[in-house]
Symmetry: C2
Subunit: 494 residues, 2 copies
């Protein structure tokens, strides 16, 4: 098996052919600024939750090319059968060590469309080579953390467990899905490898096959209770669900006589609303008001909402496929755009946009930062500004980020207004500029951030929309670059 | 970073708690048979393409538990704060070495709902622990290989390239997606790591950022052509697409004067049908009839079909997100079901089914094999039979696999009928029983298998359906087990 470390080959081929182009033209060391962001929230949500930075940092720290990897590249050929890569370029690649600056929103930060989540600043060659893998990591984890936050919102205080590994997109897809789901608010995962690697609580008891391997369901429950008296969630639907609940209760009584409490019962099929109500009644009547009713079966935020509306008495929601793959929208369309370039540090920056048919999709030029203005701890407005032009003045007028709108956005001012710059230094010249938080700390940040949002923004449907504005000088430059580009028939690199 | 090797922790926690249950009851070494299959084709397709066996085998061969992994498990606690796992069980886990028998359909085999793709036979403890990871691997790769086969069918002789890494579900999700997409019929991937690891052709030239990094588009094309004259696919839509085509042609003429041919141009936005026709005309008129028109932009089998119907002149289709994540159905619902068990080799088998609300979803009991009957090389019918009961006799009458149907299926007979058993021995007692083919060999098998199908079965919509039957003794046993289970109020382990 080929090693994936160092990480330089985890990229699209065109990043390497472009890097060779820059190399041949003596441009690899030009100073560049790229921003990673997305243009539309997934799931028609009103917010997203930034996630994946830890793995992005690890990827950059391990950036480089081994001898076997260079040998592989040396074998590749073009349409004339001649080598694709010049030995001089491969030598340059072999000398690559992580050297970019990375500024990013801490994981667990609530973020919005059109904002940079990550800013990479450094030599054009290396910054370009990092594009693909940074997108893969941040797109996927941000997607899943956002999905988890929605599901946890729907559970409205109930516990959500993530059970998705068997349907995940590869074992590593499952691993990072479990991490992001926990950060988004899940209480635990079934994925043992993720539990160990990321220090996430793990949960699990038994499957249908356990019950089937015994001649009688009663025997299966008794056998499990004997061996794991402190971990009993009996799966009751292998045969007849409510009869299964009765048998679970019988076993729970015997457990109690031996000094243990049953954790609960699990429903995995049928009419979960009706069955949970019936199970709850049986459990309460038998003296087990603390026993949890756990439910699973293709759940997501919509089904949980519908079940709650139908009066389901479910305490713990086991969510699998629809969370771990973000089933209704399995990819976030994040992009990584070049926005400023200069031949060397003593030259002026050339800022640029990538034009699009729709002005709102045109990228934002500059060396960007996001300032969040809050009133009494509630976020009111984000402003994207260029660090070299400076932040917007308090009380100033900014422009809506949507260039179709002429509306000026007036920045709030006052004693109870606080401001925070969301992109923080993470790497400087490839080395850590800050200590990264633990998974539990990230999850706690996400919980605080979500709790600070106006509740109307967190609604699954018909949510309000959060304003993001462009600082006036950035807005003016963007308009000018678009206009020049259009007037010149599209010459919009400059 | 925690190592994921050996692979024993790549599982759901409940597999470990069940294994401890079997261990405590002295049952881990009972001989068990599990089958992995699915009950519904993805994408409403008429067939699927089995994929992922290589990685499944590698996972089993690396099965086991390291000391740090066992230490992690020893720290886990139950609802009373006491340890979850018994030291004796962890000792048993630490001694685990791969020992199961694996029979499987070779990768690239066309397969159908309700058929076993993999059969695991071996000690109940180990076979249970392998469930989750085998499902993750085979579910995902089978899903993507099937999606790729559909997209390649839609391209109807055109070339399909897979470009999905940046939107894939994690870097390893991207890696296995690239492998499965190639096996399903893609000609190459953009994913360099997948190219190296699986020996898959890789393709790529340049992105919009290359063009944007120059003051003029002309300069960008000239710069690229100078450095990589043997790999020129110019991306023409950064500014004005048809003007971009003219500039690509200018550069192609200069390339030709220097003895090189432009590979083609790429369209990434706009009306691809109209633009491709216009680009084709310009290229032909300028003396470049061999230059390819490459298109990308959220493509899948439906968009490709629509573009072809609109008269698009596209030679090469770059397909990304919608292939690498199987966007319209991002998970295959494969299952892994216990179907036979005996305490030891000198005892009789107990065959079992997992009941379901719908009889068709009830699992098939026994030690199963799939026999494919073909006429003159065209598959006619698959029959699932129990190896201990023996294969169906030629010309005999079998039962439809759908128990709602009473229709007997008459097995074809005659000189031009050939039969093939699809599950072949892969591992015996954890060791390879056969050499596994290369990725290119697997792809070639898939191509042959797909070409042998009746064309009506490969239609994207309104396809015919392929008959799968149960050998009569298996069908009778399944009916009996269902009836007994229902009559007994559900006692259906036996």
């Amino acid at each position: 098996m080929t090693s994936l470390s160092p990480t330089g080959l985890q990229t699209d081929l065109y990043q390497l052919t472009m890097a060779q182009g820059y190399w041949a033209l003596g441009r690899t060391e030009e100073e560049s600024v790229f921003h990673l962001g997305f243009r539309k929230h997934p799931f028609k949500a009103g917010f997203s939750l930034a996630c994946g930075l830890q793995q992005a940092v690890e990827l950059i720290e391990d950036f480089g090319y081994s001898e076997p990897q260079l040998t592989y590249l040396a074998r590749l050929t073009g349409n004339d059968g001649e080598r694709l890569f010049d030995p001089g370029f491969l030598e340059w690649l072999g000398l690559q060590r992580p050297c970019v600056d990375l500024d990013a929103m801490p994981e667990g930060t609530v973020c919005f469309a059109h904002e940079p989540l990550l800013r990479v600043r450094g030599p054009l060659g290396q910054a370009q080579l990092l594009e693909t893998a940074l997108l893969t990591i941040v797109n996927f984890q941000t997607l899943i953390a956002t999905k988890a936050a929605r599901i946890v919102t729907a559970a409205a205080g109930g516990t959500v467990l993530e059970f998705g590994l068997r349907r995940a997109q590869g074992l590593d897809g499952g691993l990072s899905a479990s991490r992001a789901a926990y950060i988004g608010g899940c209480a635990a995962t079934s994925n043992v490898a993720a539990g160990m690697r990321y220090d996430i609580p793990i949960k699990g008891t038994h499957a249908h096959s356990w019950v089937m391997s015994f001649a009688e369901e009663t025997e299966a429950f008794a056998g499990y209770a004997k061996v794991m008296p402190n971990n009993c969630v009996f799966l009751v639907d292998t045969y007849d669900t409510l009869r299964g609940v009765d048998r679970a209760i019988d076993e729970a009584m015997q457990l109690r006589a031996r000094g243990h409490e049953m954790v609960g019962i699990r429903l995995d099929s049928g009419d979960l609303a009706a069955l949970s109500k019936a199970a709850r009644e049986k459990l309460d009547a038998a003296g087990f008001p603390e026993a949890a009713v756990v439910a699973s079966s293709d759940l997501d935020e919509y089904k949980i909402t519908a079940l709650k509306q139908a009066g389901a008495r479910i305490d713990v929601w086991g969510v699998g496929t629809r969370l771990a793959t973000a089933y209704d929208q399995p990819a976030l369309g994040g992009v990584y755009k070049l926005s400023a370039l200069r031949p060397s540090a003593d030259q002026p920056w050339r800022r640029m946009v990538k034009l699009s048919d729709t002005p709102i999709k045109t990228s934002i030029p500059g060396i960007l930062q996001v300032r969040r203005l809050s009133r009494d701890g509630t976020p009111l407005l984000d402003v994207v500004y260029d660090e070299e032009f400076g932040p917007p003045a308090a009380g100033a007028s900014a422009s809506s980020i949507d260039p179709r709108s002429d509306a000026a956005v007036s920045l709030p001012a006052g004693d109870n207004i606080t401001s925070e710059d969301l992109l923080v230094p993470v790497l400087r010249a490839g080395k850590r500029a800050t200590e990264l938080p633990s998974t539990a700390q990230i999850r706690a940040r996400a919980q605080r951030q979500l709790a600070s949002l106006p509740p109307s923004l967190r609604l699954l449907k018909d949510h309000t929309s959060y304003p993001v504005a462009l600082e006036p000088q950035v807005a003016a430059l963007k308009r000018e670059l678009i206009a020049t580009g259009q007037a010149a028939g599209g010459e919009q690199g400059s």
